[in-house]
């Protein structure tokens, strides 16, 4: 167990990351997570901090085409990457992503706190092609918790978009 607790840092690192199609240059301490960089440095507060331990999925973003828990990613390790957050799901003219529209149609949320993570996870799931049956949607969405229990409606919303 390394226990060298001598002070070190801040040593800010230059971290260019493309966020929702826009290249952003950030100066970050090495211990800044991607979630904190998005929320605190870029002001993109759509991605939510739920548990901050990779257990709830509220921070889910799409990193280089893959859904990940942004709270467990050190931003400095993703220099040059592309991130898609809930703010980047709608078209530039504001037209909602089909899954966002389906969430509204199916009333797939109550408090809405987990919704950005559910949407990013769901969009990635649709691209992965693991949404062929309700069982499959449930299994492949297991990383996104919903304390309000909107699960049946979330499964229905994803299922509807998948079946189109």
């Amino acid at each position: 167990m390394p226990d060298d607790l001598s002070p070190r840092g801040p040593d800010l690192l230059s971290v260019p990351i493309t966020v929702n199609g826009q290249e952003r240059h950030m100066r970050l301490a090495p211990w800044t997570t991607l979630l904190d960089a998005l929320r605190d440095t870029l002001g993109l507060s759509g991605s939510k901090k739920g548990c901050d331990h990779g257990q709830c999925g509220a921070c889910t973003v799409i990193l280089d085409g893959r859904r990940v828990n942004a709270c467990l990613v050190l931003a400095a390790s993703k220099e040059g990457s592309e991130v898609r957050t809930v703010e980047g799901l709608a078209a530039p003219d504001g037209t909602l992503h089909p899954l966002q529209q389906a969430f509204i149609a199916h009333d797939a949320f109550q408090c809405g706190y987990c919704t950005p993570g559910q949407l990013c996870s769901g969009v990635a799931l649709l691209e992965e092609g693991h949404a062929k049956t309700p069982d499959e949607i449930r299994e492949w969405m297991s990383g996104n918790l919903c304390r309000c229990g909107a699960y049946p409606n979330i499964v229905a919303a994803i299922g509807e978009v998948a079946s189109r």
Partner: protein, 336 residues
Amino acid sequence: MRPFTFSRPEAPALAIAGKDAASRFLAGGTNLVDLMKYDVERPAAVLDLGRIAGLREVTQAGGTLRIGALVTNADAAAHPLVLAHHPLLADAILAGATPQLRNMATTGGNLLQRTRCHYFYDRQTACNKREPGTGCPAIGGVNRIHAILGASESCIATHPSDMCVALAALEAVVVAQGPEGERRIPMAEFHRLPGNEPQRDTTLGERELITAVEIPAWDYGAHRTYLKLRDRLSYAFALVSVAAAVTLEGGRIAKARIALGGVAHKPWRVAEAETMLQGQAPGEDAFAAAASLILRGAQGQGHNDFKIELARRAIPRALHQAAHATPQSHVEKRIA
């Protein structure tokens, strides 16, 4: 998280040269970053392996399947070579964690996962694994998830990985590079029992870097299963899991390999049970006898006593699934 210095070595040799006791290699980060947030891991330096080339390939040569250390769990489970030659590994990986975590977690990192013992994670409590010599509050404490096999007086933690259980059953070899060159470590010798040094999860050296995992050829096809029993239908660590594969010849078992997860400080494999099954007709008597051999010496800690009976039933069920070529589905949860 405590401050640390951060670097991105571009070759294994540079990573190894920069490694010392106070630094940590960063791969997927799913476990390390979490442990740093809990102040359980306090590295002075983090060496990010992300820029190292050549560790992200899945290849096959001479029958041996080789998976690079930085291949993500998601990519390994979906890789055509893995699905064609070692579907048991894909089954086990897909039984673990979530799509998000599997997209981040790597083969090498999964091998080095730390236990999910509540006391290990809680700095307010003693823990021989976290701080050697302070004691083990899990013994006589809350120990529903703890070990029933191979535990010691200083630690009753379990290894949490699903992937490693399949790798153990498939007799994989961990390839590691260190200051003295390359070393190949059989899975059976990679993870260790706690003994009186529970702080050491594996036999990997401080300055060794895992570069790949190799799995020898064995064509078991659909005669395999990864049966994982847990508190929820998805996204929970195993209470008991069984990786099993068999090959049959003339209606008798020619070869059987069985490893258990969730029950010990390492994937639990008992060669005697596998040898005993050889030449036997697959059936409940033989399977029950195998379970008895595998669970010989099993001891509960109170809350986890149920695991002994759970494992005693899970092993024959898994062997039944393997013998009948009906692998457990991780989407449809019904247990065949």
